[in-house]
Symmetry: none
């Protein structure tokens, strides 16, 4: 019965204030304690209005996070794949060390029970970033700088997998200062 709303008529004020309020609340109270109702109240927005544009609080926060973080690859291509990889790794670790990292944990946590959210996370966040590095790594392989038999996607996973491991399992704190060493291990191998 509920018609799809017309995006052209969407109120920019509502859009903005919802994203802002959601993020602020999540930072202040923690991802778990945020409710759609609280976002609505804080954003001076009707609850139904939020549900008109987002399926749940996770979707709001994902968009808020993407909105805040900006598009993928903030790291310039200097031509030096090692340096750029290090910069990217360090950047991600630093980002995930902030309040936003905590929210990100919550989102990924919720994604374990909500396939649509998981899909949105991949589509709007992970894939663009993975794709960029796959391409960079592909170029490096083409230039003969890296082993040709290693799938770029695997390298990306070796790079970022451990970061998410620490983020989500909290076995150790994230250590942006060791980003360079990690890249070194990866590129040069572990054998003595």
């Amino acid at each position: 019965m509920s018609h799809a709303p017309n995006p052209d008529l969407r109120s920019p004020r509502v859009h903005r204030s919802t994203l802002d309020a959601a993020l602020e609340l999540a930072v202040r109270d923690g991802y778990v304690n945020v409710t759609v109702e609280a976002i609505a109240a804080a954003a001076q927005v009707g609850k139904q209005t939020i549900y008109r544009w987002w399926p749940n609080k996770a979707a709001v926060l994902l968009e808020a996070l993407n909105d805040r973080t900006g598009p993928a690859s903030q790291v310039p291509d200097t031509g030096d794949i090692t340096a750029d990889l290090t910069a990217a790794l360090q950047g991600v670790m630093e980002l995930l060390s902030t309040d936003l990292g905590t929210i990100w944990r919550g989102l990924i946590g919720d994604a374990q029970r909500d396939p649509r959210l998981a899909e949105d996370i991949r589509r709007t966040f992970l894939e663009p970033r993975m794709l960029y590095w796959e391409q960079r790594l592909g170029s490096a392989i083409a230039e003969g700088l890296l082993r040709a038999d290693v799938p770029p996607r695997t390298v990306v996973e070796l790079l970022f997998g451990p970061v998410y491991y620490r983020l989500l399992l909290e076995t150790d704190p994230l250590d942006p200062e060791h980003a360079a060493a990690r890249v070194d291990y990866l590129l040069n191998g572990l054998k003595a």
Copy 2:
């Protein structure tokens, strides 16, 4: 004021049937759809009885999973670190490809909102396994087989991080058949 229950008086029947029912329900209905109420009903056990011995459904399932999976390191020490690492990696990937992997995802998901659960996961599951491999890797370093400047824990993360990345973010399906290649990349480096 709820007294701590006396573990000596704990009914083994209740303990067993609760774990079994929880696992069965989680496999059948999915982690999300399991409720303590359903476990209690399926196990022919009072809801309060479950809450007497576990804080929530996640704790029940964590114990059920540990109970089913058995203790860490099912992989024998053959002396060949490369082969053993490969076997371990492949074993984990295979395990996480089953129904249990789905439950495991749910648990880690919930752990993002429940620090106590996160702690229990680390203590009862992750740390024993990480510790075992840290020791094996330490020995390998001592034997001069691996670079001495690489912390064993980092190696463990490089090994299992990507697995959890795929498990939790579902960017690609787990591929136990490529375990050997992954270990190879890691030990031999990616440089051409």
Copy 3:
């Protein structure tokens, strides 16, 4: 600050199609399930336009009902008060036995929570009809046909009260065929 709209500029098309759509929807879906939104959609009219001319759906339906039913006293004055009373009573019962009776129930139901609606119902519907019969009864009293000590208004209530009792409380279905008997009881008394 919403200006009072200018009735001269009111679109007759809107007026008509709103009343018609409202009545049609109420008959089809039942009074309860009619919403202003649905009326607007069915009448091809903006929701705001309805709210410009009526305070709520009840007001629309009250006017629609009055519009359909026509002015009070469809019963000609034959000079025979008993016969005319019977005809009137029977007419009301028959009217209230139709779909319009159901809508009428809904309106009176809503009037219990909306004093303004109650007032409108009295003013536009009940009072004109009561007034007419009070006058007829007054004449009959003046002619010495009826007891002089009985207030005409009380007679009207004795006549129509039981009808509304059945309509609203549904203890029994309306029985237009017994209208004559009812008038008889009333005029001749119940004593043996």
Copy 4:
């Protein structure tokens, strides 16, 4: 999915405090402004608990009203049908002139949109009272005191119909002081 609760295990405290709180709120804020949530809060009771035992606020208030009003026929049988009818009529009018009358209006109003409520009103309130007077009137007829061709139920409607007419349509305030006159009109007829 939701099991029917077991009435034997129903908490008397909850039952009582819910009815009391509902009535108090309805008197204080008016029937319309009562919400299930407010009743729950005022009664120190979970909202879910109210929904476990009653379908909606109307059902709560109906029971509360019945609980307060007590069983049908507070009027003793003196043997004098005229006097007893007068007493009953006056009693009802007085009752409906109080705050409870306002609540009663709200309930009957809601019953216009909720057939189940209407049925409950008839079953728990109206029918017992109507039945009592039908029997009394039946006896009077048997004794030859009243016309034998008038159905007792019709007499009851002639008696109470006008009361509900005034209650629900508010054409005039209830006038308990004229109860005797009304009975007189009815029993003795209106013809001069």
